[in-house]
């Protein structure tokens, strides 16, 4: 076969076309390949960094490590709020999560009831993708290990160990320290856009923020800074490898040291028993608050877990208001505990304390009869006696002599009517009335803008518009006892080791030393003169370490003539408030205490003084110098005179044996039923 026979023209033409077209299509394919190459260059050379970042974001997962919350300590380093391990069970929300099935599996390992199941499903529904939702907290070790062993079969389940706040003393510090609780939607909203808050941390399951007291006021320093663990994860979010070198350690929150003393505080709550009220103890030398107790209290640990509706309702609706901090939020008329202040005002106004005013038991003024609590009258009283006996007639008349503005001035100087910066929110400043106040308060009622003379006598005995809180009473007592400085209270001793300013770096009181000494003398007589209104209840039984005090009764309702003020048969909320302030040792004042027993009944000595004494005793015995003084070889003090109060006396509310019971405290009884009635 010869060659040309194949290449006839027809075929040649077809071949030519094919060659041209093949060249063209080959060129097109080449162009396509070049386009791919160009795209590769764009992705791999130009945008490489962006994709490398995305790739790392895929590959590495930073898991937030919540910081351990800072401890809250008492002045001796006893921890009042700490953290304990908490085994938690969580479900991670994922695209292909079958929550029902996972919960079914889990319920074979741990008890999951219907309501919990419903809650978890609801929260999973709302949670963002990949966000963990807490199924259970506080698993037992057995439950925790049961789940952990089966972890490979439960890809969306995490069992980890977190930390949860614990308050070892439960209720004793609940009002001061407050509590932490779950971050609410409202908290989240408030924190939104706040650069100082770690939003991711706020959204972390199980993270809690301070809601009250120190926990709230110092929430930021207590929180610390969150860390992270770097993990390599696969597309399903499973951890492939840990990368400890990439971990960012969490910074624990700062420790807050309070001036409180756990022993005194605990004893204070203990002696409150079932009563409602507050006890504040202050160091007279520097203003440190050693105790701030409000009773009844509540277990702050319950709030950490989250209260159930009925539980909260029970607390909120209980008549004695456990949720209210009565040590600084509860306002009461000071009653006769105000009399030392009035005495100071009188002395400052130039009244001669030795001029005696006769007390016949009642006094006619301004168209009505003003009674002394002592129906029979005290007879001629000078200022010293009037404080000792808490004579109303003396103070009615003296207050009229000096006028309301002088009293108000002294009251403010002693700390009433003002807020103290103790670092936690919730104080109420009360009211110290004067002529200026009346003008402001009754703007809409000009007829009431003037100060009526009839208001002054009540003012003189701590009644009327005057209201104070327990903290202010303690400050007043401490200032009086200090005898020099206008002490301010301090609650926060240090934050993260940084000492907070002391309450002693303050100006002096605007009273002369002589006057302060005189009033203190009156208070000493209250507690140590056999005829003092709280003599028996104020015997510390600690040798020559003696207490000075002042009783008080704050009237809750007005009494008709002839109606007995004996409060035994009166409903609780109609009873008088029972107050007592004291300091000790009298000759070298160190500790001031104020006690308010809400609706405690008539006479500061009945309910207030015995409790003050118990608390004071703990404070004194914890002071090594005082202890040395007590324990030096000396004859035991004589037993307190056996005030034989037959029958009717209620048992001493102070429970438990006193640490050093030198006297027969057990038999000390309320003088309510005594012949002299109750001191006002």
């Amino acid at each position: 076969m010869s060659e040309p026979s194949i290449f006839f023209s027809e075929v040649n033409e077809r071949q030519g076309v094919f060659h041209r077209r093949a060249f063209l299509l080959g060129g097109l394919t080449g162009a396509g390949l070049l386009a791919l190459g160009g795209r590769l260059a764009q992705l791999q050379l130009v945008e490489a960094q962006r994709y490398q970042k995305l790739s790392a974001g895929n590959q590495f997962n930073y898991r937030l490590v919540p910081p351990p919350r800072g401890l809250i300590l008492d002045r001796n380093g006893v921890s009042l709020a700490s953290n304990r391990p908490n085994f938690r069970l969580m479900i991670n929300k994922d695209k292909d999560l079958n929550a029902e099935a996972v919960l079914d599996d889990l319920s074979k390992l741990v008890p999951i009831d219907g309501s919990r199941r419903a809650r978890v499903l609801r929260e999973l529904d709302r949670a963002p993708r990949r966000a963990p939702v807490v199924v259970m907290e506080d698993l037992s070790w057995e439950e925790f290990s049961r789940v952990n062993i089966r972890a490979p079969e439960l890809p969306n389940v995490t069992a980890d160990m977190g930390e949860v706040r614990v308050y070892p003393f439960g209720g004793a510090f609940a009002h001061v320290i407050g509590y932490v609780a779950k971050v609410s939607d409202r908290d989240l909203k408030a924190a939104e856009g706040d650069a100082t808050q770690d939003q991711e941390l706020l959204h972390h399951p199980g993270f809690r923020i301070g809601k009250q007291g120190v926990e709230k006021a110092f929430d930021q320093p207590l929180r610390g800074r969150a860390g992270a663990t770097k993990t390599e994860v696969d597309a399903q979010g499973r951890v492939v490898r840990l990368d400890p070198e990439g971990d960012i350690p969490a910074t624990p929150g700062k420790a807050i040291r309070l001036t409180l003393d756990a022993d005194i505080q605990n004893r204070a709550l203990e002696v409150m028993g079932d009563e409602s009220g507050a006890i504040v103890v202050m160091d007279i030398r520097n203003g440190d608050l050693l105790t701030m107790v409000s009773a009844p209290s509540f277990d702050a640990n319950r709030f950490v877990k989250g209260l159930s509706g009925p539980e909260y309702k029970a607390l909120a609706e209980y008549e004695r208001k456990p949720l209210l901090d009565k040590s600084m939020t509860g306002l009461f008329p000071p009653g006769s505990t105000f009399k030392p202040t009035v005495g100071l005002a009188a002395l400052a106004a130039g009244i001669d304390p030795e001029i005696r005013i006769n007390c016949p038991g009642s006094w006619y003024y301004g168209g009505r009869v003003w009674r002394c609590w002592e129906k029979g009258g005290h007879g001629p009283q000078n200022l010293h006696d009037a404080i000792k006996n808490s004579c109303d007639i003396y103070f009615y008349q003296t207050s009229l002599k000096i006028g309301p503005d002088a009293i108000a001035k002294a009251a403010r100087a002693m700390g009433f009517g003002q807020l103290f910066d103790i670092g936690i929110p919730g104080q109420k400043k009360g009211l110290v009335p004067d002529r200026e106040w009346k003008k402001r308060a009754f703007k809409k009622n000009p007829a009431n803008q003037i100060w009526f003379p009839g208001e002054t006598p009540s003012y003189g005995i701590g009644q009327g518009a005057l209201t104070v809180n327990a903290l202010q009473l303690a400050v007043m007592t401490a200032r009086l006892a200090n005898g020099k400085k206008a002490l301010t209270p301090r609650l926060i001793k240090s934050v993260g080791g940084v000492e907070q300013p002391s309450g002693a770096e303050v100006p002096d009181l605007p009273f002369s030393q002589e006057h302060l000494d005189y009033v203190r003398g009156g208070m000493a007589a209250v507690a140590n003169d056999v005829r003092g209104t709280a003599y028996r209840q104020s015997q510390l039984g600690l040798g020559d370490v003696q207490m000075a005090g002042k009783t008080g009764t704050a009237q809750v309702r007005s009494y008709d003539k002839g109606v007995s003020r004996d409060s035994k048969d009166v409903r609780w909320r109609l009873k008088d408030h029972n107050l007592f302030v004291a300091f000790a040792p009298f000759d070298d004042p160190r500790y001031a205490v104020s006690v308010i027993i809400e609706h405690g009944g008539l006479g500061g000595a009945t309910a207030g003084a015995p409790r003050a004494r118990e608390v004071m005793r703990v404070a004194l015995l914890k002071d090594p110098e005082i202890r040395a003084r007590i324990e030096r070889p000396a004859p035991l003090p004589e037993a307190a005179p056996e005030a034989v109060m037959e029958g009717a006396a209620p048992a001493d509310p102070v429970a438990g044996p006193a640490p050093v019971a030198a006297g027969p405290d057990g038999v000390s009884a309320s003088p309510t039923a005594g012949p002299q009635g109750a001191p006002r």
């Binding site: 076969m1 060659e3 194949i6 027809e10 075929v11 033409e13 077809r14 071949q15 076309v17 094919f18 060659h19 077209r21 093949a22 299509l25 080959g26 394919t29 080449g30 396509g32 390949l33 386009a35 791919l36 190459g37 795209r39 590769l40 260059a41 992705l43 791999q44 050379l45 945008e47 490489a48 962006r50 994709y51 490398q52 995305l54 790739s55 790392a56 895929n58 590959q59 695209k95 993708r129 390599e232 994860v233 696969d234 597309a235 399903q236 492939v240």
Partner: protein, 385 residues
């Protein structure tokens, strides 16, 4: 026949040893290189393990390689003779799939005959090329340019394409239609028709996407247009693939260190998206190298087509080259986010027997065209002489 030096004696070219020598071994070497790289990637993806993909990939390549050499020995006239029967069988099988095929992953693509389970659409990829080449072999240049006779090749393409598209297997439909059209172009189709056809396809795409495609197919197209709209849903494939590619950078993360594929962020990492794994671990340099190898394969195959003395051989080799090019271009564009996700793997690189089989059988045909490039193929109907 002066071109081939000493091989002038009649019958000399039919000696098996001569045929064997005539196989384009450079071409084979490039193919082996690509398959080897594929195996290497599969080894890496499996976490430095021959199981479960790399060993099988190599084994398959070996078997198909032998098959390719055997097919290369088959006389071009035999290929010519079986062109129409193969096409007819393929078409019948496609109809059979339509009627009794297995449903797998929502598509009816597979046909089971006893223990054998295969996709007739793959047969059609070769069948259409052969049938068109045979048809044009008997057609004058003028008729191939523009005449009523072109309705027949048009129908030969459209019938299987419609059947495959209905399965639905859009990728394969494109891989049948495009090379078919390429053969028509290579045979000398009038530019007017080419342009009109291209224009018609462009115009038809939007309504086709909106009204004809299945939801999942439409989603793929829409996602392609805006991949960030649903990064965890339908856009996930494209986004993760782009992350894998981009994060590879110039030199890649290193062999076995591609986090995207190793940690399963990349879907279909051993099949359709193996190129992304390659890109991640070997970077721009590695990718460019592999694209160069593909370019070399295409160039060599086109050259084989061009030196064939028979029109049938030219068009058949050209058609197979077009098929292979389409595979590479579509998969490349898809992996790089330039085309919607269609199930088209990267030939020789991706794991999977079907594609490798199709491509290697096609290359067997190409090699046969080279080995028999001087063979005279009669245009007479049914005659093998």
């Amino acid at each position: 026949m002066t071109l081939s030096g000493g091989l002038t004696r009649p019958g000399e070219r039919d000696r098996p040893i001569i045929k064997f020598m005539e196989v384009d071994w450079t071409f084979c070497l490039v193919l082996a290189m690509i398959a080897g790289i594929g195996s290497l990637m599969l080894f890496s993806i499996a976490g430095a393990s021959w199981e479960p993909w790399a060993d099988k990939h190599l084994l398959r390549f070996g078997i198909y390689f032998v098959m390719m050499i055997i097919l290369a020995m088959i006389d071009l006239r035999v290929w010519f003779a079986i062109a129409y029967p193969l096409y007819a069988v393929g078409l019948l099988l496609l109809v059979a799939v339509e009627l009794v095929g297995d449903v797998s992953l929502g598509a009816q693509r597979w046909l089971s005959i006893g223990p054998l389970r295969f996709q007739p659409s793959e047969i059609m990829k070769i069948g259409v090329v052969l049938a068109l080449a045979r048809y044009y072999h008997g057609l004058s240049a003028d008729s191939a340019r523009l005449s009523w006779r072109l309705l027949i090749p048009a129908f030969m393409i459209i019938a299987p394409v419609l059947l495959v598209a209905h399965q639905p297997d859009l990728g394969t439909a494109i891989l049948i239609a495009a090379p078919g059209f390429a053969i028509m172009v290579l045979a000398g189709l009038s530019w007017r028709i080419i342009l009109a056809g291209a224009g018609a396809v462009l115009v038809a795409i939007p309504p086709f996407v909106m009204f004809v495609l299945h939801d999942y197919q439409r989603n793929r197209v829409l996602t392609f247009l805006n991949p960030e709209q649903d990064p965890s849903g339908t856009g996930y494939h494209i986004l993760q693939s782009k992350i894998a590619l981009g994060s590879g950078g110039l030199l890649g993360k290193g062999f076995g260190l591609g986090s995207q594929s190793q940690l399963n962020f990349l879907p279909e990492k051993q099949t359709d998206f193996i190129f992304a794994t390659l890109a991640e671990e070997f970077g721009f340099v590695g990718c460019f190298g592999v694209l160069f190898l593909y370019g070399a394969v295409i160039f060599m195959a086109l050259r084989i087509a061009s030196i064939s003395h028979s029109h049938f051989g030219r068009l058949a080799a050209g058609g197979v080259t077009a098929t292979f090019s389409m595979y590479v271009l579509i998969n490349g564009a898809m992996v790089m986010g330039m085309a919607p996700v269609v199930g088209v793997p990267m030939p020789m690189l991706s794991y999977g027997g079907t594609v490798m089989g199709t491509v290697m059988i096609g290359f067997g045909l190409v090699q046969a065209v080279r080995v028999h490039r001087y063979t005279e193929v009669t245009s007479g109907k049914g005659s093998l002489v």
